[in-house]
Symmetry: C2
Subunit: 218 residues, 2 copies
């Protein structure tokens, strides 16, 4: 466990990081950073749940990613034109560690193990992003999105199999690239096929195997 820094920096550099990092808190719906802002730094989530979104030309929102404890956010603002290409918004009350850009760059350039892992991290993000291009009916994409919701946020408890935090219909729609009406209809489809039980806002996973099958496009 722990963040990528904890795992791949030497003790000395970790102290350097701890000296420079700032702890910041945000309420639900709080904006951690905003698309278009100059890249100030790099964030790791201490605890909380966050969505990363991007504003579309047609002022639709696109949900890029969700993140939870120990995940990093803000990395897309690095290495390019040094503006955040996306916004990060807290879904629940969230506490983050903030590391200023120049400190981060210094740490990366000095820790070859860390920079090697960062290549790996970006390569994984790239793979995930490419996977989203696979063409499937909304039903299958939704199954995939629910599994992502589970993978990142987990269950409330093992027994209930209820997601600890369920994305809104609109968030699912923004992730998949469809409308919330369509999400609602497909959600009730998944209900009928017994894959899930959607109870008001929250979702209970009834048949994980089926959901995984659907997510693979079958």
């Amino acid at each position: 466990m722990g963040t990528i820094f904890d795992k791949y920096c030497s003790k000395e550099w970790l102290e350097f990081i701890n000296f420079h990092k700032k702890i910041q808190s945000y309420p639900a719906k709080g904006i951690i950073f905003k698309e278009g802002d100059l890249t100030q730094g790099f964030f790791t989530i201490r605890h909380g749940k966050v969505k990363v979104v991007s504003e579309e030309p047609d002022n639709r929102q696109r949900l890029i990613r969700i993140a939870a404890d120990d995940d990093i956010i803000g990395h897309r603002g690095f290495f390019g034109n040094w503006k955040y290409p996306v916004s990060a918004i807290a879904l629940t009350p969230t506490q983050v560690s903030f590391l200023p850009t120049e400190i981060f760059v210094q740490v990366v350039k000095a820790n070859s193990e860390l920079s090697y892992r960062l290549i790996e991290f970006f390569a994984d993000e790239l793979r995930l992003s490419e996977e989203k291009h696979i063409l499937m009916p909304v039903k299958n994409k939704l199954a995939k999105a629910i599994l992502m919701n589970y993978n990142v946020f987990g269950f409330e408890n093992e027994k209930s199999k209820k997601l600890s935090y369920t994305l809104s219909r609109q968030d699912f729609a923004d992730y998949i690239g469809t409308t919330y009406e369509t999400i609602i209809r497909e959600l009730s489809n998944l209900n009928q096929s017994g894959a899930i039980k959607s109870d008001g806002k929250s979702i209970i996973i009834k048949n994980m195997k089926l959901l995984q099958k659907l997510a693979m496009g079958q």
Copy 2:
């Protein structure tokens, strides 16, 4: 100009690379590496034109990327489960430099400037991939695809404004995620609006401004 190695490795390491690299040639439609194969190494294109594709569950093809002289290919096979997640296929007769995996990893770990640039490269690839998720009608996506075709392969000559190599209807369809019939229909749309002139297989860009506007979703 030159490859990422030429630009960011010391002279000594470049000699090391030159000692270990192998020059390989492929005819048009030749397979440079195949999805699912264990990652053998890393390629830079000496000259030629290449498409990177992935096989879908529904045995459709997805076109991930096109690449030309000095571009790198095969990098998606690194840093994960060490299998190529995609195939690379020559579009025209192509010559590549091949660098075995272990040599590449050795070079990356020893050249911090190179590894920093590789993070940058992957971050750019990620940005490009994310951009493809933006929802647009096929017409606009096609405009974007034609511009990509231009950006990577350029014109035959500045005067004619004819693409030096035009992707097939099927390739455009595989890139955008639609059918070739739809591409044909939208291509004739772009013809009528005066953005392009499609002359048999090849495309002439008539109105670059209009094409760029469409590509931005307007």
